[in-house]
């Protein structure tokens, strides 16, 4: 009886699964495939706001409303599609979450659920253009908002007296504030395949290409809800993807990261792997360094070094720019035209705290949290002082040895006695080791109290190194050998009979 029931349940389940799959397959067979991302244009919108509501400005606004789309079409081409020119049914791979119901690009409205037809078109970039005029001069401020990333760009200001050149200049500014994006796929820890949205479209104006010769992207993971809304956006921290060879916007990118395994394994679930271009849109980025402790403390007076990536076969010396954080823990990173990104190394004394790739100017403010190294740094300072005293003591010892030897050769035995007494009164290795022990015990105890095992390990290593220096330079052999040598010399000179 039990076997029959079990068999019956299994059969029902199999039948149900088959029906379901048949249904979904039939449904999918009727739906068109989404466009590859390379063929998907960016949905761009702009609004023009006027400050001074005089007739001339109103006229200019109307004029731009008409001419801008034309200029965009002429300069950017199909790569951008203006939001007001797009039917609500047109959706792109970039804007539709995976594994969700898809809508036909040419489907009739009847095929589209009413709720979807009323949904606003997701815009990739929203431009805000603000115009103000004074006699003889027109000032236009252009800024961009990317709704998905909730990111606002800096504002570019155009001033001109010639309204005819305004559309092209505005479009150039819009292009400058534009950040291409794409989808990435992990190959291994160092390589990723990237497909850039809109890359398949031709570039009407070569002055306004989609991609720079070397383009740097930040990888993101965008998680969606079951309903298809964005649940959360998670950037892969301190990681850059450098694209310098692409074919129609697709290519392998090199991964540069401050993390050991930045990309990890492929995430599961409703997630899309986006990559957004990082461009130096600000003149300077403020890099804020603070500790990971709670509350976070700014890292003041820390050295920050900037250098470019070492390329194999590159014989050019690597120029390192060295900066110091100010009293707010901030150091300004100025953008460099020929170098889109740099390695930023944060040090604490002799210890490197972090090394991350950054694009100066990509963001107004960048925050980098690093481990709290103050205890180790303080210990390093104490050890440095101890080493300074060690150097002085060694130098003095050496001087006394030489002087004693010279006095011995001259048979100035009183001087020899005085010098050797001074020599023996100098602090020896034991005294230094006692001081070292005091430093080590106190620092290690503090590290344990803070449960900072990393600091503890480093402190112990530094103390061991210092101990090695003491052993090496303050060996008692030299003094003992000198005393023996002088005794022998004295004996030889006093027992030799006169000729």
């Amino acid at each position: 009886m039990r076997d029959i029931t079990r068999s019956f349940a299994v059969g029902v389940a199999v039948l149900w699964a088959c029906c379901f799959s048949w249904g979904t397959w039939e449904l999918r067979a009727d739906e068109p495939l989404p466009l590859p991302i390379e063929f998907q244009p960016y949905v761009v919108d702009f609004e023009i706001e006027i400050i001074t509501a005089d007739a001339d400005t109103l006229l200019l606004q109307a004029e731009l409303s008409q001419r801008l789309p034309e200029t965009i079409e002429r300069c950017i081409g199909s790569r951008w599609q203006l939001a007001n020119a797009i039917q609500p049914s047109v959706l792109s791979e970039a804007s539709v979450p995976a594994d969700s119901e898809q809508e036909s690009a040419e489907g009739s409205d009847s095929d589209v659920p009413e709720s979807k037809a009323e949904e606003p078109i997701p815009v990739d970039v929203q431009y805000h253009i603000q115009i103000s005029t004074v006699p003889g001069r027109i000032t236009v401020e252009v800024s961009a908002m990317e709704p998905l990333w909730e990111r606002r760009s800096p504002t570019l200001t155009i001033q001109t007296g010639d309204r005819r050149e305004l559309p092209s200049r505005i479009v150039a500014a819009m292009h400058r504030l534009f950040r291409p994006r794409g989808l990435w796929e992990r190959i291994d820890d160092e390589q990723v395949r990237l497909r850039v949205q809109g890359a398949a479209f031709a570039t009407p104006d070569p002055e306004l290409p989609l991609l720079n010769p070397v383009e740097v992207f930040t990888p993101w993971m965008v998680f969606y809800t079951r309903e298809g809304t964005v649940q959360r956006l998670v950037p892969v921290p301190w990681t850059l993807l450098e694209l310098n060879n692409s074919v129609e916007g697709s290519g392998l990118v090199t991964v540069y990261s401050g993390l050991a395994q930045p990309l990890g394994t492929s995430p599961r679930g409703r997630v899309k792997l986006f990559a957004v271009a990082e461009r130096s849109q600000w003149e300077t980025s403020e890099l804020l360094l603070q500790t990971q402790s709670q509350p976070p403390q700014p890292l003041v007076a820390h050295r920050v070094e900037l250098h470019r990536e070492v390329v194999a076969g590159d014989d050019e010396p690597i120029a390192t720019k060295s900066l110091i954080t100010n009293r707010h823990g901030v150091v300004p990173l100025s953008r460099v035209e020929q170098q889109p990104w740099v390695w930023v190394t944060v040090t604490s004394g002799d210890q490197r705290l972090a090394e991350v790739p950054l694009v100066p100017g990509a963001e107004r403010r960048i925050q980098l949290d690093v481990p709290d190294d103050r205890l180790r740094l303080r210990t390093e300072g104490e050890l440095r002082l101890l080493q300074s005293e060690l150097v002085a003591s060694v130098a003095e010892r050496q001087g006394l040895i030489l002087a004693a030897r010279a006095a011995g050769k001259k048979q100035a035995w009183n001087d020899v006695t005085a010098l050797t007494q001074q020599l023996q009164q100098l602090p020896g290795a034991d005294k230094f080791r006692d001081q070292l022990a005091g430093i080590r015990v106190s620092a290690v105890a503090q590290a344990r109290q803070q449960q900072n095992r990393l600091a503890e390990r480093r402190i112990v290593r530094m103390c061991d190194d210092t101990n090695a220096l003491i052993t090496r330079y303050l060996a008692d052999d030299k003094v003992r050998l000198l005393l023996e040598e002088l005794d022998e010399l004295k004996a030889a000179l006093t027992t030799d009979p006169p000729p």
Binding site: G349, L377, Q398, G399, L400
Partner: protein, 820 residues
């Protein structure tokens, strides 16, 4: 017969012949021919005649052998060595002869008497140019006279004086005086010499020398003819010179000297009257100026009047009145005019002692140091009446004091001006930008015209020290205050006293705010700094009453002046610390061995004792281990002073040489224009040289340097420490990269502390770390003292600087009346 007796006989025969011609006026051609000479005598040359001989010249007299001339009855002259007794040899012999004659036989036996009488009729001589037996005896009856050597000299002196050859004449006179004091005729010639030479000095304009000589002549012979007239001529010349230099004190001095000689001398009386008239005239001008409200001119004029002739009784009251109304403080400062000092001043990139002193006098910050108490400097404010912390001390509400006391010399500041000034310190684009202040301040705002709020990012350690900033004068400030001197507008950072334009050497500072006209105690209105090329001259001026204050006493005279009841000797609250600062861009900043070598190579004890303190007042100086004053709690007393160890220094030099690739670069040092430093510098250089370090003085303005000799008084160590970390005093971390990170972290800890105990601990650690690494080279600290005449009132007992509280100082009317 012995040969000698034969010679005596021969001379006697000769004299006998000559005696036959006694009374004859004619020369040798007389009727009584001398007896024929003996064959021996025939071989000798004839004796010269007196008339043929000339007085020896000075060269002969001074260089040659002394010679007396024996003039025989026939006027022949025999040259002999000086005879005895002298002078009046013949007279003395004759007197003795007569006295001997009178001696009874009972006393002197006859034979002896005869022998003695025989002897007394002769004179023993030593002939010149005789190598054999030059001794002779001549009977005195054959001698007419003896012309002594001294007489020759005096005769020559007379001739020289006629020729106005004073130097040689004086030499001859002294020769005579040395040979035989009181020689007859000496005094006469000497007086003549004095008189003539005095006239000569007067003729060539050396009146002071003439005066000395004339006084000497007067002391010896008051009734010397024409001496009074000569005095008149000298005094005329002296006083004309002195009055041309406006040195009335000297003029009165010489008049006093004349009066001691002749109280009624017409020249003296004439000049006395002239000076008195001049003083009275100036007094009248002063009175006139006062009536026209020109109080400064009145004060200056009346002071000039009393210095011309202080004894006029009517001047005293006038002086008191006018000087009290506009009080001028005369300060003496030592400004050596040595060319090396001028070079040092041009090349020194830091504030000199004079600059520091002027800044303390002129600037009026919001908070200024007032006194040292319990190891801490306490501050006070002229502008801020009260302040109230809120938000656990992060917000501070300040209330301004808009009313000013009559004695105060300051502008009236509103909160708007203060806020605007502080905002400039927070603006990175402004030259006044202060990064540390900017980090501490969240917001500064004016809440009303007389109150403002400071919002901070954290609790301050001492807000007073952070507000040691002055608020520059603006046209608005001048207008709002209403009673500021318009000239002060040209010097916006001089709010208390401002430097008036004066092309001379004297630097003049006047109150920014004129004192109100209401009758109440007046205070110092003006400070004049008079330069003197040396301490000795400055002290002389103080003792003479020309100045009233010297801001820094030389240690050699400290003890003596401390016991002088005429003056206050006041120690300053903080000593001055001498320290060598290392330039952050120098290779020295990167090499600890080299720095330590510099430290240990100097025998600081010896330098301090011998060069700085000049072996005087040892209690006023001591070695130090850091830049903080030792009477402040910030000073780490547990640190052992680095010892003088040339062996260690030499070893460190060898180590540094190896580290730097085998060669040590010569180092450059900038030195302040200070006489004590100038004295110590050669010894320091030599001690460094001994261990192999070459350190040269940088004399080029804006030239590169490795070491800077600083003389500092850090009133607030937590803030003032930054001035020693970088040559420009910058507190920007980007400028301090030369320091290792752990040291920067220590400095950051200091900046973050909010309680004084923790701050002290960190300061002690920093001092220790800097000493071990020799990041600066501490030398010594020296106590400073100022000296002021007791006519001054309102002085602090232990001021922070020489001009502390000067707005309340008063000067009583006083001028020197003693005869100089």
């Amino acid at each position: 017969m012995t040969l000698a007796a034969f010679r005596v006989l021969a001379v006697m025969c000769l004299c006998w012949n000559l005696a036959g011609m006694v009374g004859a006026q004619a020369p040798a051609t007389t009727n009584t021919d001398p007896a024929p000479l003996t064959p021996a005598e025939a071989e000798e040359a004839p004796l010269p005649k007196l008339v043929d001989l000339k007085t020896p010249n000075a060269e002969e007299l001074l260089r040659g052998k002394p010679v007396d001339w024996l003039v025989l009855l026939n006027q022949d002259v025999i040259f002999v060595e000086p005879v005895k007794p002298r002078p009046d040899t013949l007279a003395i012999l004759k007197q003795r002869y007569e006295e001997t004659l009178k001696i009874p036989t009972a006393v002197l036996p006859l034979e002896e008497k005869q022998a003695k009488l025989h002897e007394l009729q002769r004179i023993a001589v030593t002939l010149l140019d005789r190598s054999e037996d030059p001794e002779y005896v001549i009977e005195t009856r054959f001698l007419e006279k003896i012309i002594y050597f001294e007489d020759h000299i005096l005769k020559r002196v007379a001739l020289l004086l006629d020729e106005r050859n004073y130097a040689t004449a004086y030499e001859l006179l002294m020769y005579v005086d040395r040979r035989h004091r009181g020689w007859p005729g000496f005094d006469e010639q000497y007086y003549r010499f004095l008189f003539l030479e005095t006239g000569h000095w007067a003729d060539v304009g050396q009146y002071e020398r003439a005066m000395i000589q004339a006084e000497e002549l007067f002391a010896r012979k008051p009734d010397y003819p024409e001496l009074a007239r000569l005095f008149g001529r000298i005094i005329d010349g002296l006083l004309k010179e002195r009055l041309a230099e406006e040195d009335y004190r000297a003029a009165r001095h010489f008049l006093a000297r004349l009066k001691r000689i002749d109280a009624m001398h017409p020249t003296g009386e004439r000049w006395t009257q002239l000076l008195q008239n001049q003083a009275q005239e100036l007094a009248q001008q002063a009175r006139a100026a006062q009536q026209q409200q020109q109080h400064r001119e009145a004060s200056i004029l009346i002071d000039q009047a009393v210095r011309i002739w202080p004894d006029l009784p009517e001047l005293r009251a006038t002086h008191r009145e006018l000087v009290d109304r506009y009080q001028i403080l005369r300060v003496g400062v030592v400004v050596p005019d040595d060319s090396s000092i001028k070079t040092m001043r041009a090349a020194y990139p830091y504030e000199t002692a004079a600059d520091h002193r002027h800044r303390q006098l002129c600037e009026l910050p919001l908070f200024e140091p007032e006194r040292v108490q319990d190891g801490l400097v306490q501050f006070r404010s002229r502008f801020i009446e009260s302040w109230e912390p809120g938000n656990l001390g992060r917000d501070i509400d300040f209330r301004l004091r808009l009313r000013r006391a009559a004695w105060e010399s300051r502008p009236v500041l509103t909160s708007g001006e203060i806020v605007a000034s502080l905002a400039n310190a927070l603006d990175p684009q402004r030259p006044e930008f202060d990064g540390r202040f900017e980090h501490e301040v969240r917001l500064v705002s004016a809440t009303s015209p007389e109150s403002w709020r400071l919002q901070l990012t954290r609790i301050p350690l001492r807000i007073e020290s952070r507000l040691r900033r002055d608020v520059p004068l603006t046209p608005e400030t001048l207008a709002w205050s209403g009673d500021l001197n318009v000239q002060a507008a040209t010097r916006p950072h001089q709010q208390r006293f401002f430097q008036a334009e004066d092309p001379g050497d004297v630097q003049i500072f006047q109150r920014t705010r004129l004192q109100p006209a209401s009758p109440e105690p007046w205070h110092i209105a003006e400070v004049q700094e008079w330069p003197f090329p040396s301490w000795e001259l400055a002290l002389q001026a103080l003792l003479r009453g020309e100045i009233d204050l010297i801001p820094q006493i030389d240690p050699t005279d400290l003890s003596a002046l401390s016991n002088d009841s005429r003056f206050f000797v006041i120690p300053l609250a903080l000593p001055q610390t001498h320290i060598l600062q290392v330039h952050t861009a120098s290779p020295l900043a990167q090499n600890a061995s080299l720095r330590r070598a510099l430290l240990h190579a100097l025998d600081r004890s010896l330098l301090l004792k011998e060069e700085i303190l000049l072996n005087a007042a040892p209690e006023t100086g001591r070695l130090t281990t850091g830049p903080f004053a030792q009477n402040l709690s910030a000073y780490n007393r547990l640190l052992r002073s680095p010892n003088y160890d040339p062996i260690r220094a030499a070893a460190l030099v060898a180590t540094a040489r190896k580290q730097l690739g085998g060669e040590l670069p010569p180092l450059k040092i900038v030195l302040p224009p200070d006489p004590a430093v100038l004295r110590a510098w050669p010894a320091m250089q030599s001690q460094w040289k001994r261990v192999g370090l070459t350190v040269e003085q940088q004399i080029e303005p804006n030239g590169p340097w490795d070491l800077g000799y600083r003389m500092v008084q850090l009133t607030e160590p937590t803030d003032d420490l930054w001035s020693l970390l970088h040559p420009s005093g910058s507190s920007d971390w980007a400028d301090l990269t030369v320091y290792p990170h752990w040291l920067r972290e220590r400095l950051w800890d200091l900046e973050q502390t909010i309680d004084w105990t923790a701050a002290e601990r960190v300061l002690h650690q920093i001092q220790a770390e800097f000493l071990v690494e020799a990041r600066w080279i501490p030398l010594w600290e020296v106590d400073e003292h100022l000296i002021a005449r007791r006519r001054m009132g309102g002085l602090f007992t232990r001021p922070m600087h020489p001009y502390q509280n000067i707005e309340r100082w008063t000067l009583q009317s006083w001028y020197p009346t003693e005869t100089p």
